[in-house]
Symmetry: C2
């Protein structure tokens, strides 16, 4: 089964896959449909895919007969994609069931299930390690057996391993060898029931480390909309919900920020048809079965709406904002989010380098987003150009427009006061100038229009974590310099210590940067130190810069009549043109920025045709979605350049779909 | 017009008021209805009250004629309550209008408006002080004139004062003298348009300081659901929305966490009829007018749902949680929330002392809720009973059940390690024992079942603000003691310094508390230091404690056969019985806990009949909703006891409705 990623954000994907009964868009919610007693039309409420239990069908003669004769789609009256579970749940509850792994695979195939499941062993959380290990062996054996037994059936292969993160990862790696179609993460329901969301985060992330990027993952038993955003951000694509009806039977309304009980309600809680057409009193007085059906409808409405909201957030590149909002529904969910902060590297590997929307700070947890950790890494690699550093307070953006002497005088203090690491009479006229701000800490002036350093907002009132973060970052960055001058407002805002007040008037540098140096700063930041020099040389006279008449921003950069780079308006990224690609290819050693394509596809790449995943032999692991890349052959001969549509980790795992949107280089022969 | 408060949370109220055209439940959203071109049936979508513009009607001959002949209800085809604006908005836009204050009041009365508005001067934010002051004079004059001109018309009187908080307060106090029915807070739209939410919080809170509690307040021009929760928490009861249609005309979908543009949408964002019955593509291809109408319908659905959600949160006592969630929609709204932290005293004055639901920590902003600041005040008043203090780490709740030697050994460390302020060989067997935990800092063991010290949850991973908060609180509390012993886990979790590791084994106190001392601790905490002794004396032998068989919690406390107090199961509050009331009345000097009633109502109070606001002459300003009170006459003779249904500030302002749910004291003559 092919899975196609359409949009990415954090580890989340909006994707599509095909089954014999239609297309499924992910993230998707699969309502659990009871094969014998379903009353709600889940298709009408938005379900493209449902899940039902093959073991229940198998055990009931009447259902079994009908399923074998007419197929499971007719049995449960659902024309779309059907996934079936294998009886593992019954196994975990009753300890034993009377069907073998092989039988259950064959039975699922016989009743025409689209996606079947092998009989894995759901190991509970917090068991002894030996138990988890021995269960795991069986799960892996059965996954292998299932892959051999099935013919056309699409196959689930479940990741187990209890609460031992390394076992989760090991299991994922093992079962991934048998080439299943979907990877559920199993036996996490007890963790969710106990509100152990931090442990859930561990289990999911370690599973992800072992799973390929080119298959959907299903967080088994996750049916509460409160959890969808967080799970999606960790790379989960599918959810199943029996909860919608189980909660409804107990008079419970699911909401993205928790659960409400009918008994406690004075007002209907949402905007759905059920909540706008009925009153609380009506529902309370209603016959229980009818009431449960209406509440179940609300639960599905709100769950599907949350799934749509999450897809939209992924497309907009603001999923983490939504996650940070949703995780405040319960303190233990917030613990899950805070645990996720430990997995910044996992998140960063799959996070696009540029997004459509601005970075909105929602709390200190935002400081752990990939955008911030990536910037810090970039900062560590930047080399000082002067021995003096001046740190100015943030103003309006872009900083170069507002961070000037007049503005600083006017808005930060009538008499500007500075602090220094050094009481000598230093002349700061020649200095590297940076702005200190939340959430990106240190912003060198030349980068003030580069994504996301320009495209972000944070509150003016700082929390202690932000202050600490800024202090540590400033201290580290200042260490690269001999003399450091810091504006009073920066000292005050972030409680910086160790700097002494300067009494005398200072000759400050104009906080301006010329276009030539701005270009070089951006190139060094985007492609690595030295790239600016490699692309634009030392002599500003040789370089022609064309600017937008409207925005006054740099658009095109030439040397003579040869185009070196262009600047993308929305994120300030440098886009390689012919000369730029050739020069960077010369300057940067392989494998940096390289996507190595097979011989077959060389002619297509030279013509500027898109590079498909299956033709990529290798690529720089630092490549992220929306990054500029150099397309080369095995001999590292430059064929073309382009923009990556995926992260290197996805390019490596995917055998279908586009990897690179290619740009032809004119001077390269087709 | 009578306004009745049904439920309270923070400064927010769920209330009701009556107009000639029906009952309005607050918080309420008043859709703005254009008198000439309304197409949406807002009544059907949930509106009990709408707002329309009397000046537009006045200026249009056709509308004017119809309104005067048939009334405004017929003109705009809305049978419920109608509020009309006066033309102030037109005045603020065009600088001049051709109607006087007196004329517009008379006109509104003539067309049968339920609630009319005087012609106030909307002063823009950030103007010069002189301008704000001179505008204010006119506004106040016209408010007075309007109150004289109107006969039956219910009257709005608008608070102005630009962004000068003291002028807002002054204006509110002045206009409150003329006894209007509703108090709008005006000219805040520019603040909202500029996302200056911190300044908006200042303007609103200062206005509230001048306004009476017994009238609804309307935040004029606030139509975005993102803002409703915060505004409600500050005491706003009414919102108006022209935004639902203005946004719709531009293809904008309102959501409680921001705005989405149709152009950017790939999925319909909510669970409403419009979002579930239409696709994005359908809407994009639709004829603009039809599309706008559908998006307007979505905007109203989502706005009314948010209003209902807020009412529910007030009833449940978890509005601040909702506010803290919603304010993360935009960093500048978060700034508003963080500004609100400065107004903890204003919030505390109106916040109930006990609530139905647990305190859920959503971020460090939760540390500024009234529950926390109130606890800190209580802590400051508690007197040490020993010279030694032992601080233990939090465990599961209730702490007395879990904070024992075995549990601490098992869950916090194999070998417990302690730190001390003091390297002497102190014997800690006689110590005051407290638990250190977020968000309440220090919890003396005896209070571990008292609301909200038992009814709260916070994440296990702490932010820096929480750590700092705990450090400061522990340091301050420890100052009361000679010897302080702190468990290693507390030191580690909150980065405490200044305590030295103790090497030798320690004789620790069993972290238990007997029922008699628990009762006394609770009484001291709830009613003030010494109350425990006053109520229960020194001799445990004299006191009989009855416990619940099921929960093992204290239920009834007697001396001989006389009931002193009972303990409320849900919040652990002591409820005064005959003997308790008499003893507290004797122990506590007036005005503490007193509600002084008029002579007329004395016989009713003695009989145990509810005390109505109009009969209250005076009351202790520290009384909060759900607090125990002593009902006395002017001579401070005890008449009865009871539970306050309002805060002292509300009791003082209200002339209708119940103030106290009274309990008769048997030994007091009727």
């Amino acid at each position: 089964m092919d899975f196609e990623i359409k949009y990415k954000d954090a580890m989340a994907r909006v994707g599509k896959f095909e089954t014999p009964h239609g297309t499924v868009t992910t993230p998707a919610l699969m309502p659990v449909v009871h094969p014998g007693k379903q009353t709600l039309d889940v298709k009408k409420l938005g379900a493209e895919i449902v899940i039902t239990n093959s073991y229940i069908i198998y055990k009931n003669e009447k259902l079994k007969k009908k399923a074998l004769e007419e197929g499971v789609h007719s049995l449960i009256d659902f024309p779309g994609t059907i996934e079936t579970d294998s009886g593992s749940f019954q196994l975990s509850v009753y300890g034993d069931i009377d069907i073998t792994n092989e039988e259950v695979i064959k039975f699922q195939e016989a009743i025409g299930t689209d996606i079947g499941t092998s009989l894995d062993i759901p190991t509970a959380p917090y068991v002894k390690r030996e138990e988890a290990e021995s269960d795991l062996e069986v799960t892996i054996e059965r996954a292998e057996e299932a892959s051999k037994v099935r013919t056309d059936l699409l196959l689930n292969s479940v990741v187990q391993g209890s609460t031992f993160p390394d076992l989760r990862e090991q299991c994922a790696k093992e079962i991934a060898k048998f080439d299943a179609d979907i990877y559920p993460i199993g036996a996490v329901v007890p963790l969710m029931e106990m509100y152990r969301y931090a442990d859930l985060v561990d289990a999911v992330i370690y599973s992800m480390r072992g799973l390929p990027e080119n298959k959907p993952r299903h967080l088994m038993g996750a049916g509460h909309p409160m959890l969808f955003a967080l799970a999606t951000a960790m790379g989960c694509d599918l959810f199943d919900s029996a909860a919608y009806i189980l909660y409804a039977n107990k008079g419970r309304f699911m909401m993205p920020d928790g659960t409400l009980r009918l008994d406690d309600l004075v007002e209907m809680p949402c905007s759905c048809r059920v909540c706008t057409e009925h009153t609380v009193d009506e529902l309370k007085q209603m016959e229980p079965e009818k009431r449960a059906k209406l509440i179940a409808e609300h639960n599905l409405h709100i769950s599907f709406a949350e799934i749509r909201r999450i897809r939209q957030a992924i497309v907009d590149g603001e999923l983490m904002k939504l996650v940070e909002l949703r995780c405040r529904a319960h303190p233990f969910l917030l613990d899950g989010l805070r645990r996720l902060q430990e997995y910044q590297e996992d998140m960063e590997k799959l996070n696009p380098s540029s997004k459509k929307t601005a970075f909105f700070y929602t709390g200190y947890e935002s400081l752990s987003r990939s955008e911030v950790s990536r910037h810090i890494k970039h900062l560590e690699n930047l080399k000082p150009k002067n021995k003096n550093l001046v740190i100015l307070p943030h103003t309006r953006k872009p900083y170069t427009k507002y961070v000037n002497r007049e503005y600083i005088k006017k808005y930060t203090s009538k008499i500007p006061t500075y602090y220094s690491n050094n009481d000598m009479n230093t002349n700061y006229a020649d200095s590297d100038v940076v702005v200190a701000d939340v959430p990106f800490g240190i912003i060198p002036l030349g980068l003030d229009e580069f994504y996301p350093l320009a495209q972000n907002e944070s509150p003016a009132i700082h929390d202690e974590n932000s202050k600490k973060f800024l202090r540590e970052l400033i201290t580290k960055y200042a260490d690269k310099y001999e003399n450091v001058l810091i504006h009073r407002k920066v000292i005050d805002k972030f409680d910086l210590t160790g700097y002494a007040l300067i009494e005398n008037e200072l000759e400050l540098p104009e906080a301006k940067i010329d276009d030539f140096n701005r270009l070089k700063d951006i190139a060094d930041y985007q492609f690595g130190t030295g790239a600016g020099n490699a692309l634009f040389g030392d002599d500003p006279e040789k370089i022609t810069i064309e600017k937008s008449k409207k925005t006054k921003k740099i658009r095109h950069v030439f040397e003579g009549d040869e185009n070196i780079v262009n600047m993308r308006a929305n994120d300030g990224f440098l886009i390689l043109s012919d000369l730029g690609a050739v020069r960077l290819h010369e300057f940067l050693d392989a494998p940096t920025m390289r996507v190595v394509v097979s011989e077959d596809s060389e002619p297509f790449a030279r013509k500027g045709k898109s590079v498909f995943n299956k033709f990529v032999l290798d690529c720089d692991e630092n490549i992220r979605r929306n990054d500029e890349v150099l397309i080369v052959n095995k001999e590292d001969e430059l064929l073309a350049c382009g923009k990556s549509l995926l992260s290197s980790y996805e390019i490596n795992d995917f055998m279908t779909g586009q990897a690179i949107k290619t740009r032809k280089i004119k001077k390269i022969d087709e």
